[in-house]
């Protein structure tokens, strides 16, 4: 599914990622944890193709294709979805119109005809029910005036609509109360299949009570310094990140 080899990334000449290696197979859930400033969000942005970042070395192969050669919209249509840490507001653009444009771009990419209005609305209704999002949110402009929790739910709703092969959820749990956290996690779990994979980026272990990862990585100072099963998350919860810092001489 995804293979990252020796990935080095800089922003404004400052190196953030210093040689990441990561292999993700279909159906797997990987959690990437780590203290603030470790480079977690940078990794998510680079996967999605944000051009603020400069890849100085290494490669990312997604489903046999060189991801770094692709424009962000092409990566999306190939099946990469980024759940934003801070979803963006687009005033005046209805969620319906936005999603319809996006879904039909995905369909075009697959050689399918655009959905008719009624088929699209049916799809929306089904997905809204699946992720428990309120119609009053999807009737509004994209993320405009949404609370933090509403924005995150809207990300999961969009993920449901687009059915990605690889979902990268960047700090999806930040700013969520326990109910919203449960709803968001349930959404992610329901969307899980044997074919698609998920990268869950989080600071806290809390989310991983709901979304059970197959593998947990600790990202520290631009490198993955530890990889283990889900028990690693619990250990981090208990001991914090200090021991990681000490082990790595910082």
């Amino acid at each position: 599914m995804l293979s990252i080899k020796n990935l080095h990334v800089s922003i404004d000449g400052k190196e953030i990622l210093k040689g990441i290696n990561l292999e993700i197979k279909p159906g797997e859930v990987h959690a990437i944890m780590g203290p603030n400033g470790a480079g977690k969000s940078t990794l998510a942005s680079v996967l999605a193709g944000r051009d603020l970042y400069e890849v100085t070395e290494g490669e990312i192969i997604f489903q046999g294709k060189n991801l770094l050669d692709m424009a962000p919209e092409d990566r999306a249509k190939e099946g990469i979805f980024l759940g934003f840490q801070y979803p963006i507001e687009i005033p005046g653009v209805s969620t319906v119109n936005f999603m319809k444009t996006a879904v039909n771009e995905h369909r075009k990419h697959k050689g399918l005809d655009p959905l008719t209005a009624s088929d699209f609305l049916r799809l929306m209704r089904d997905k809204k029910a699946l992720v428990e999002i309120d119609s009053k949110l999807t009737n509004r402009s994209v993320n405009e005036g949404f609370s933090g929790g509403e924005k995150k739910k809207n990300e999961i709703f969009q993920m449901a609509m687009l059915e990605p092969k690889l979902a990268v959820l960047d700090e999806t749990d930040s700013g969520l109360d326990i109910d919203a956290l449960r709803i968001v996690a349930n959404g992610v779990n329901k969307l899980k299949t044997a074919e698609n994979s998920t990268i869950v980026i989080t600071h806290y272990q809390r989310l991983l009570d709901y979304i059970i990862p197959d593998v947990v990585h600790v990202l520290f100072d631009g490198r993955i310094v530890k990889t283990a099963g889900k028990e690693l998350a619990l250990e981090l919860e208990e001991k914090g990140y200090d021991w990681i810092k000490e082990e790595n001489g910082k």
Partner: protein
Amino acid sequence: MAKEEQDKILDEVTQSDYKYGFVTDIENDDIGRGLSEDVIRMISAKKNEPEFMLEFRLKAYRHWLTMKMPEWAYLKIPEINYQDIIYYSSPKQKAKLESMDDVDPEIRATFDKLGIPLDEQKLLSNVAVDVVMDSSSVKTTFKQALAEKGVIFCSFSDAVQEHPDLIQEYMGTVVPIQDNFFAALNSAVFSDGSFVYIPKGVRCPMELSTYFRINAENTGQFERTLIVCEDDSYVSYLEGCTAPMRDENQLHAAIVEIIVKDNAEVKYSTVQNWYPGNKEGLGGIYNFVTKRGICEGKNAKLMWAQVETGSAVTWKYPSTILKGDGSSSEFYSVAVTNNHQQADTGSKMIHIGNNTKSTIISKGISAGKSSNSYRGLVKVTKNCEGARNFSQCDSLLLGDKCGAHTFPYLEIGNKSAKVEHEATTSKIGEDQIFYCNQRGISTEDAIGLIVNGYAKEVINKMPMEFAVEAQKLLAISLEGSVG
């Protein structure tokens, strides 16, 4: 987005073509360049006008000679040589049109190409159209159907012939000849336009629309529109305009006068798409327009909705005089400037009657090296009690080579007035574009979505068919621009 990428996409903007830039090869009847009393007499004679019209024109001309072109607008305009312009040019065709078959096939083809079929059968069933090419009206559709309701909708020239009393009574009452430089010029040389009269208690059964087309070279277009709505009547009126691509600038100076009586309502929508000039700023229309309505009666309503994407220079401030007690007016505008276009546009709301209300919603979108200014006046006279105004002026910037400016003027003469003004300036965020990209939407389409979202409040005020056209126009005129 990286700087080079941004510049590349901004450059691409300039390659998006003006889709209406063709020229129709028809014979014109023109009077040669230049302006003098003789020229005005000649125009009046060609149109076989009654004496009062000639007097009106000459008075305006003599006044115009004493005036100077206004310089207060935030516009850079090279000097205009008013003697180098042809003031009257009319497509040569048979004197009187009895049916569609009489319209010159070339002219019919022109309007077909513009998507304005002149054939009533082919028309959207609920829109009557008057088409004006250069200095004269070519054809007005659905005249009969409207006449049955007592609605008069015809070219201004026909109205002068057939309803001289109405013209004499109302012409120049809202925009007097001495009002401003361009109004005086128009009053002297105007050649055609539309006249609308809605009798008492009549709801006009269809949208009325005038389509203006400049075709001839070196010609100025000076049209005049007069709309009179008697008590308890209603009309929705639309205006659209295009012109061929030419390297020299062409002058367009129009006047619109609207009179709204007791409890009557007028909606006036414009989609202005005159040729904006090429990407280096060569050519394009100079658009100097005076549009003003008076809510004369109590509870009269006047709404302006405009989408302005064309012209090299736009100088235009649709205004309302709120004279009747309880009368109200709304102004909704989207003005797009790209490349080297310049716009200085906005609205004036003059509150005279008690409890009058006005709303101004102005959305400017600037791209390329263009300049886009909002200029608006809210005036509340001394004896006007309970006036209310809300103004909102938003500017959206695409790229870093364009400019947006806001010049609000407030003259409040009565303490009971409540006046609110809000202004924002934003850039289309790279974040917004990236967010769309990440959902599979290309940058081009993302800008289309974002800009239409931004302008939605205004576009929603337009009649359906125009709203669709306006949306497409916004996308086309900003093709490729990114901020």
